[in-house]
C-alpha cells in the first residue's frame, strides 16, 4: 500500500511541477517520507530529484543544489549511478544562474566526465 502511495505521490509531483512548483514540492516531500519508510533508495532518489526540480523552478537554487548533492550521495550509497550526469549538470546550471561561474565550471567538468560513461547516465 505504501509502495503505491509513494508512486502516486511521485506521479502527482511530476504532473504539478510545471504548473506549480510549491504544490509539487509537497507531493515530493510525501514521496520522500514514504520511500524512506520503505527503505526504497530508487524511489528516495526520485523524490529527491523532484524536490530539486521544484526548488529550481521557484528560483531556490541553493536548496536545489542541496537536494541534488543528496541525489549523488544516494547513488554512492547503493552504487547505482543512473542520472548522476544529469545531477552534476543541473547543479552547474544552478551555479550559473547564481552567477558563480567558478563553481559552475567545476561541476560542468564532473558532468562531462560522467556523461560519456557506458550504461544509464
Amino acid at each position: 500500500a505504501e509502495q503505491l502511495q509513494c508512486r502516486d505521490a511521485l506521479r502527482a509531483g511530476k504532473r504539478l511541477l510545471k504548473e506549480n512548483g510549491a504544490a509539487a514540492m509537497i507531493r515530493f516531500e510525501k514521496a520522500l517520507m514514504l520511500s524512506k519508510q520503505l527503505g526504497d533508495k530508487v524511489q528516495e532518489r526520485r523524490a529527491m530529484r523532484g524536490l530539486a526540480a521544484s526548488a529550481r523552478i521557484q528560483g531556490q537554487y541553493k536548496s536545489a543544489i542541496k537536494h541534488l548533492e543528496r541525489v549523488l550521495e544516494i547513488s554512492q550509497e547503493f552504487k547505482e549511478f543512473t542520472g548522476d550526469a544529469d545531477a552534476y549538470g543541473t547543479i552547474a546550471d544552478c551555479y550559473t544562474d547564481m552567477g558563480d561561474f567558478d563553481k559552475a565550471a567545476a561541476y560542468y567538468d564532473k558532468y562531462i566526465d560522467t556523461m560519456n560513461r557506458e550504461g544509464p547516465v
Partner: protein, 88 residues
C-alpha cells in the same frame, strides 16, 4: 569561464529537443509498454544526447592558460553559439 553560460544554453537547447521527442514517442507507444521499458527508452534518448554532446562540451572546457588553447576554446564557443542559435 567565459564559456559557462554557453554550456548551460547548449544543455538546455538539447534537453528541450530530447524531451519533446521522448514525449512524442511515449504517446506513440501508448499503454503497450510497461514502466521499465519506458525507462529504457528514456535512457536511450539520454544516452544518445550525452554521447553526442560529450565532444562539444569538452571543447568548451579547455580553458587553461595557454593562449592558443584559449583562442581555440573561444572559436569553438562562437561556432557552437552560431550552429545551435544559442544567443537568441
Amino acid at each position: 569561464l567565459e564559456t559557462v553560460p554557453t554550456i548551460k544554453a547548449l544543455r538546455s537547447k538539447v534537453e528541450g529537443i530530447r524531451a519533446a521527442e521522448f514525449e512524442k514517442t511515449v504517446h506513440k507507444l501508448g499503454d503497450g509498454v510497461n514502466k521499465k521499458q519506458l525507462r529504457a527508452v528514456e535512457e536511450l534518448s539520454k544516452a544518445i544526447v550525452n554521447k553526442l554532446l560529450h565532444g562539444p562540451m569538452t571543447a568548451l572546457r579547455c580553458d587553461g592558460t595557454d593562449p592558443e588553447a584559449v583562442n581555440q576554446t573561444l572559436a569553438n564557443m562562437d561556432a557552437l553559439e552560431q550552429m545551435f542559435q544559442l544567443s537568441q
